[in-house]
Amino acid sequence: MIMIIDEAFFGFARAGTMDGNTPYPCILDTTDPEQLKLTDGSLVILGQKARPFREKETDETADFRNPVEWLSEDIVIIPDGAQLIQRPRKLIEKLSYVRNKHGMSKLIYLQGIADPYLIPILVYAGVSIFDDSTIRMESIKGIKYTIFGRSKADSAEITDNIDFIRKLIKAVSRSIHSGSIREIVEKYQISSKALEIMRLLDKDYEEECEKFFPRRTPYIKANSLESLRRPDLTRYREYVSNQYKKPSGKNVAVLMPCSARKPYSTSKSHKRIIEAIGKMRNQVHELIVTSPVGLVPRELEQTYPASSYDIPVIGEWYDDEKSMISNIIGAFFKNNSYDKVVAFVDKDLEFIMDSLPEGSILVSWDRSDESLSRLRETVSSIISEHPSSVKTNYKMERYTKIAEYQFGEWIAKYLEGCKIVRNYNSEMVVKDGKPVLIFNEMLGKFTINKQSAPWFIENGKFLVEIDDFKPTANIYAVGVLSTTPDVRQEDEVVLHHKGELKGVGIAKMPSRAMIDLKKGVAVKVRN
């Protein structure tokens, strides 16, 4: 019997071991009958017998137009990979269907394809098992795999090619562990079909991808235009476009370009701008225009993704970036109104003027002190025209916005009257003398504690319901009963049993996996 133990997830991709020693994703050796054997019309895979999946007991036939998948205890086999890949859309459809139909308790084995230039994207799309049959055939034909593509030789060693693929799969597996597989597939564009699959996933399976995509990754290396459609970025932009509400009392918006240094406000250019605005900052809402993130209200600059990305900058924007930025700015100002909007941007960003509300002012920013003075004068004259008396606690305002971004608007009322207290090198939100949320500066997010956990239970947010036991270090998937729909991998979550608080922790797998699986760490408990 195979036992699947997942060690890492990223979106649909998963890495772990079968039988305690066969790692996946993996490529099976078709010459080894211990791994694969077809007898009496039934495939035996790693000792497990597979049978065609039938919708009904009485339905003993396959649908001859659309070959069905086969099932063993732990594996679902898609037999017609070689054919499906001809129409990547069909392949993605099938993967999605299989995942929804059979759940995550089974690994997906895709037959008939082991193209090294497709393996990374196929793993990203949820395939865990391949076999080497097509590699053997290609090798005999003199095809040799290289990192840049196929090359033709008179003879190619099968072992070289298989070795090439094994190393590749190992690297892909590592990237699932390290949270960089999205970067890998974005950059591995040797095959147009690979790119097609990624673009189709981003475009047509946005919602499904988002549900599986972790809340945060270690770092976004946005080295290709495909980065613009990363599920974590579209998720962020959706929030800023449709849910975000500006802090009250800030009635002048100043848009400015991003900086390479993160958070932006620690960069030289932003320091100069902040200094120029000076005391007026109380009434100014600073908004940073950037690709691939889009638009970042100053309060969110410390959070993911604004704090954790990098992009090649050449002083010119591509059309895709321009339309992405225009869209988010347009949506943002539809939901948030100001007395006046000032764009303090370089020449290359002047295109945003078209998306700003009527009457917005452009102040050119050419890195000179003169332009800073012009900004100062402009803001000052606006404020004198539209005086505001609201005094804000800048820090509290920022942390409230971050908490709303991380947990939802509902949390704002709990934070009323809270104070920020610095404790060693982290800041805490304190209510009635007790810390309720601890801000992790490194990660740019709050962690929940026993004081604040009940709020989540009251509101039905970020909950993982477990069996009635006292959690220690890890909650395994077998112990999870249900989750609220908002839970994503890497989220801060609250553990409970029938509403009784059991602890807090970090989600380590997609919520669907927590439900479907038995093995693997579902939640890392914070003690």
Partner: protein, 353 residues
Amino acid sequence: MMINREFASSIKRLMPNSQRKTDLDRPVSIWREKDRLRGYPETTMVAIFKTTGCSWYRFSSCSMCGYFNDVSSEIRSENLKRQIDIVSDSLEDVKTLKIFTSGSFLDPQEFPIEARDYFFRKISGKVEKLLVESRTEYITESNIAYLKDFGIPIRIAIGLESANDQIMRNSINKGSTFAKYVKAAEAVRKMGYELRTYLLFKPLFLSEEDAIADMIDSVRKSAPYSTDVSVNPMNIQKNTMVEYQWKKGLYRLPRLWSLARILLESKDFGTQVVSYPTGGNKERGIHNESPDPNLLQLIYDGSLNQDFKELEDYYKSADKKEYFASLAAEQINLSQPDFERLISRTSNASVLI
């Protein structure tokens, strides 16, 4: 249950609804080829009569059969008689004749007794050996007994296709069974005719190795009843389920090496084993990874002369690495993808350096 209803109706859906306009008085085709109906190679006439078609078409069809493309519901005995005249006139000095219809020559609905009798009268004295083909249900003592009276030695051919009922049902949709074949074969023998058994090499949904095993097993099982067993490797006919799967890349035609293996393996089972592939080395017929005219010729020659020595030597000395790699791949795959076609399409999507 002999029929897989879902499979049968999928096949039915692919069959054309309308028939082509056609000359009712001309056979589908006539040609000459070599065969050994009288125990030695000689030129033999082959004629395919245009009829109203196989009785099985009313329900469905076999997954590989596209002969329904050549039928016309308007055919009457008069038309058949005119077709018979054409065949008879073209015999010249040929003494052996093989008759096919897009169904069963012995089905009185398809080939009325009146036309049948006319046929026999027309060819008697000219033809010294005749082969006719029929589904098993028409091979009954009462239906075939009197054919002897025309004085022409007859070999009756049955498309058994496979001795495995599951394959017949789920891969071919033949609507028949091995038991029905045996019953018909016994009637043939009892009435004093010879029997040719046609087998289908590599029906749908079988890996090539499994298909080879099926052929060897089927030759063994049909040998006791058969004067000869003809192994017909698949060819792709229009509007069939096989064509449908093949176009999607979900079917790979069998390879000549495999046919050689079947012949070499079963040549001593006590019957003459022959194979005259249709469309060999062509896109829609049996072919190796690359065309091999020599191999095809050796298969023909070996079949015709019942001497497979040269084929055996050729087979043994060849490099079959690529062939066996392809078979191994098929063997663990649950579908039978046409890897060459599909892989090269997939590979073309990536950089070649």
